[in-house]
């Protein structure tokens, strides 16, 4: 088992390195963009750590349902999260914010002290929590391996947690410190954390289903459920609500949460889906907690309740299932360790270490800054490991976590006040956080220390936290949370109200509170009056960002603002503000401010001036957007107009073409009439039979002219939409028979065979009888005309096809080339654009037929016919009632 665990754990860790590498290289250009909201939501699920994975079962065994509060809190927080997350996103981008310490420092006048305080207290609050994850890895290993691997005292090289810790150091440094800018999303990191969240969820669900399917066969399970249901829920309302409150606050403020939901966020658009996906994720993950908590004591009484999941997975599903549970726990723990360590490392190096080195401006600091972060990460993880090894051995997973939550919650008043209350002041923030932490320390940390030193848990007597909490009939954690937050908030408000803002503090307060309006343009707001020699600003940037990146950002800035650096040798205030933001991304707002101050003789703009400039640039931005929208509209309108004009020209062209063709078709019979009439007129001696012949011809040509004019008028009616159908119930079979009879004489005269095969089952339908007759006349007439000149044959078939009647007229003539099969339905296809004439006819028959069939909502086409000849087919929808076609109106041809 030990070997198996070591192999799969190693394989898993190797895999997440590979995954991170893949995401880092590919996420930008594979189709990941549409998946970003889901990846983002999964990354936020880093909230669910080994504590969720293992500890919740322990907690449920011990005290029933209250483990759920830790997830209900964040679920409730989601209701107010959207406006906060959106605001934070805008602030992060435009202010170069890379951590909670950066955020609070920037908000409260770019204050260095506040940044240091937040960084240090975050470290104190969260370090035990990271240790907890290391402990979970180690103990899960021990639980499955069945041996106590870490020797009671001292340092052991046999502890697998040590190696996991070192691997985590490598991972965090490799994928977390790629860029100098702290606020830049890192695809490899976010992708991997999302993957780990997915993995732990799937692992938990599989193990849960396997366990549950075996529990339901066990009577003890059902008895256990009844016992559980009857257990009175006796959690005092104060305990209940304090857990809800601190878990909701921690969900927003924990370093790892802030890192994933704000710093690593690459778009405001990611936020909405997370609002329901994250609660859903937590719900699914919690489904199986209770069954394991109920069966744990019966099936594996000797196991630590925190690790029932592993023990029961082993019992119900064998070592494979146990290994899956172990990997799930490993993924939960490692994702927390990676993100927490990265966030703490960034905060600590930016606010505590970097200020020590930036004083020396004459060396290139770019690499040193990243190196400091890496050392911070390394140091924090080693500290966490040592804490786990020497101190955190006996506490349950949940209790350490709750202490951490209570600590992080202390940032809440300064955080919310900073985002929503302009009066909130640096002094209030510092005093509030300091007092809150003191109370937290007194209730939750001091007793442990005193206990360790004196061996007396109630060393302080009446003033011992336990005694105080008991007096109030709530538990120590609730007392600590309620008191600390209450005092914290009151101090924060009182000190803020009493303090006076300086110019910069006031400006920052306004920017943060109105971030949605002022900062959504992602522009660095202009804060100063004054200029600095451009070379000074540039060398400052080079100092911190390095040569190539400085060149790049300045080029981009110059291009965006149409500036030529060679000519303008002074950097204006906008450029200076931009430089400050770039520095802030690398070294935090407080240090950036100091650095900028060292090259610029600056004078802060008043709040109204800052607002004026911002409003102006927002207005320009809005104007640009509006202009480009108008431009788009105009372009669209132009395009539409152009299209309409083209269409009109096309129509005009068609009309001209039509008139030309009509005139051609009129001239031909007219020529014959005139020539013959003149012959008769001029030749009084013409033999009687010749005269008779010419007169006959003239009459025929007149008929032809009349037909042509009738057709032209018909077509015009159809195409203008003035033609109405008069629908009657017709028997298509009978109609075809009659028309075929009329054509038999002509067919015989030409020596053609005219046959029909019509199904007797054709139902009657509503159609315009005259018009359908016209179509049949046209088609049969054409077929007889184009059939082979000797042995010509025309076959007519008709039958019902689904909801249509289908009629085919098939001749054995030359056929129509595929390219012309659609064109033949155009009017005057015969003569259009060509000089060769097809056999005679008005050239309008097929066009009219097409119009008639389309008015009946049918279709007409030349069918592919491998047997040769031409096969014209049309369909008529089967109308059983008269009304269906009433509304039909022929639309003019385009």
């Amino acid at each position: 088992m030990i070997l198996l665990l070591i192999v799969i754990a190693t394989a898993y860790l190797a895999f997440i390195f590979g995954a991170a590498w893949f995401f880092e290289k590919r996420m930008a250009n594979l189709g990941f963009k549409k998946w970003m909201p889901y990846i983002y939501a999964l990354a936020i699920a880093v909230y669910c750590t080994a504590w969720t994975f293992y500890g919740s079962i322990g907690r449920a065994t011990e005290s029933g349902f209250d483990f759920l509060l830790i997830y209900i809190g964040p679920t409730l927080a989601m209701f107010i999260w959207y406006p906060i997350a959106r605001k934070l996103y805008y602030i992060k981008v435009s202010q170069g914010v890379g951590s909670l310490a950066d955020l609070l420092s920037a908000r409260y006048g770019k204050d260095a002290t506040l940044g240091k305080l937040v960084a240090a207290l975050s470290l104190i609050g969260v370090l035990p929590y990271i240790s907890l994850q290391i402990k979970a890895i180690s103990e899960s290993f021990t639980t499955l391996a069945g041996e106590d691997l870490h020797l009671a005292k001292g340092f052991s090289l046999a502890d697998p947690a040590l190696y996991v810790t070192l691997v985590m150091v490598a991972f965090t440094i490799l994928f977390g410190t790629r860029y100098l800018q702290n606020n830049r999303p890192k695809a490899g990191l976010i992708g991997t954390i999302a993957f780990e969240s997915l993995f732990k969820l799937i692992a938990f669900v599989i193990v849960g289903i396997i366990g549950l399917s075996s529990f339901v066969k066990d009577d003890r399970f059902w008895v256990g459920i009844q016992d559980f249901a009857q257990k009175p829920i006796d959690l005092p309302i104060a305990d209940f609500s304090s857990i809800l409150l601190i878990s909701a606050l921690s969900f927003m403020l924990l370093p790892r949460q802030f890192q994933m939901s704000v710093v690593e966020n690459n778009s405001v658009k990611n936020i909405p889906k997370a609002l329901w996906l994250v609660p859903l994720y937590m719900l699914v993950l919690n489904l199986f907690i209770l069954p394991f908590a109920i069966m744990g004591p019966s099936l594996s009484p000797e196991t630590n309740a925190d690790f029932y999941l592993l023990a029961l997975a082993n019992i119900t599903g064998g070592s494979g299932t146990a290994a899956l549970a172990f990997l799930g726990g490993l993924s939960a723990a490692t994702s927390m360790i990676i993100v927490s360590t990265l966030a703490l490392g960034n905060m600590f190096s930016t606010h505590v270490l970097v200020p020590q080195i930036v004083r020396n401006k004459n060396v290139s600091l770019e690499r040193r800054i990243i190196a400091l972060r890496r050392w911070a990460i390394f140091g924090i993880l080693i500290l966490a490991y040592l804490y786990y090894h020497y101190i955190a051995q006996k506490d349950s997973l949940v209790s350490i976590g709750m202490v951490s939550f209570a600590a992080i919650s202390q940032f809440a008043p300064a955080f919310f006040g900073g985002l929503f209350w302009k009066q909130a002041h640096r002094k209030g923030a510092i005093a509030g956080i300091a007092s809150g932490f003191t109370i937290w320390f007194f209730f939750l940390v001091l007793p442990e220390i005193l206990n360790a030193i004196t061996g007396d848990p109630n060393f302080l007597g009446f003033w011992s936290p336990r005694n105080l909490a008991n007096t109030m009939q709530i538990n120590v954690l609730s007392a600590a949370s309620i008191f600390s937050l209450l005092v914290n908030s009151l101090v924060f408000i009182a000190a803020s109200l009493g303090a006076v803002h300086n110019q910069e503090e006031e400006n920052q307060a306004t920017l943060f509170v109105d971030a949605n309006r002022l900062l959504s343009g992602n522009q660095a707001p202009e804060m100063y009056r004054g200029t600095a020699p451009f070379p000074n600003v540039k060398s400052l940037l080079i100092n911190f960002l390095g040569d190539s990146r400085t060149e790049k950002v300045l080029d981009r800035y110059a291009r965006l603002n149409s500036i030529n650096w060679d000519i303008s040798s002074m950097a204006d205030s906008r450029m200076i503000s931009y430089a400050e933001r770039l520095l802030s991304e690398a070294i935090g707002p407080a240090s950036a401010k100091i650095m900028i101050a060292s090259v610029v003789q600056r004078e802060d703009l008043s709040r109204n001036e800052v607002l004026g400039i911002l409003e102006e640039s927002q207005k320009v931005l809005r104007l640009n957007r509006e202009l480009s929208r108008r431009g788009d509209q105009l372009r669209r309108a132009t395009e539409e107009l152009q299209a309409a004009n083209d269409k009109l020209q096309g129509l005009t062209h068609l009309k001209d073409e039509f008139l030309y063709t009509v005139s051609h078709e009129l001239r031909t019979p007219l020529t014959a009439i005139r020539t013959q009439a003149e012959l008769i007129e001029d030749d009084l001696d013409m033999p009687a039979e010749d005269r008779q012949r010419f007169l006959n011809n003239i009459v025929k040509d007149c008929d032809r002219l009349t037909r042509l004019i009738g057709n032209v008028l018909d077509l015009e009616k159809f195409e203008s939409g003035n033609q109405k159908l008069s629908l009657v119930r017709i028997d298509l079979c009978e109609l075809i028979e009659n028309i075929v009879k009329q054509f038999q004489a002509l067919a015989q005269k030409r020596g053609h065979l005219l046959e029909m095969e019509i199904s007797n089952q054709i139902p009657a339908t509503y159609a315009d009888e005259d018009r359908i007759s016209q179509v049949l006349h046209n088609l049969i007439g054409n077929a007889l005309k184009y059939a082979k000149s000797n042995e010509g044959k025309v076959l007519i078939t008709a039958y019902q096809l689904d909801q249509d009647l289908k009629v085919n007229i098939h001749d054995n003539g030359k056929g129509i080339p595929a390219s012309d099969r659609e064109l033949v339905f155009d009017k005057f296809y015969q003569v259009r654009n060509q000089t060769r004439r097809k056999p005679s006819g008005s050239g309008l028959g097929l066009a009219i037929s097409k119009n008639i069939i389309q008015m009946h909502k049918g279709q007409i086409w030349i069918e592919e016919n491998p047997g040769g000849g031409t096969k014209v087919s049309f369909t008529l929808p089967l109308y059983q009632a008269e009304g269906l076609l009433k509304e039909t109106k022929m639309l003019p041809h385009a």
């Binding site: 051609h664 001239r667 020529t671 020539t675 010419f694 011809n697």
Partner: protein
Amino acid sequence: MPSKILIVDDEINILMSLEYLFKRKGYEVFIARNGTEAMALADKEEPNLVLLDIMMPDVDGYEVCDYLKAKNPAIKVVFLSAKSKKADVQKGYDHGADLYLLKPFSNKELLNHVKDLS
């Protein structure tokens, strides 16, 4: 004079009446109903004037005109066509026609033109 005239048109009534007209005026007349027939007949009978329709099945009037003028540059060609656009007329002359007459025309007019040309 008297000339040999070849009349080419796919419209049978026009063909027959023109044949009648020119025969009555003493011309030697040949008729063809399409381009192919016309070219064969021209080779055989060597007419000095051709009345030529343009839109015909198979070979159109332009091609027939080209063929005739290539064989015998002295041959007179009169297009009789219902194609009324300027471009059509121009095309007719471009193919070497001596005259382009738009249908319908009067018999007198046609006779006069033919007389002038022969």
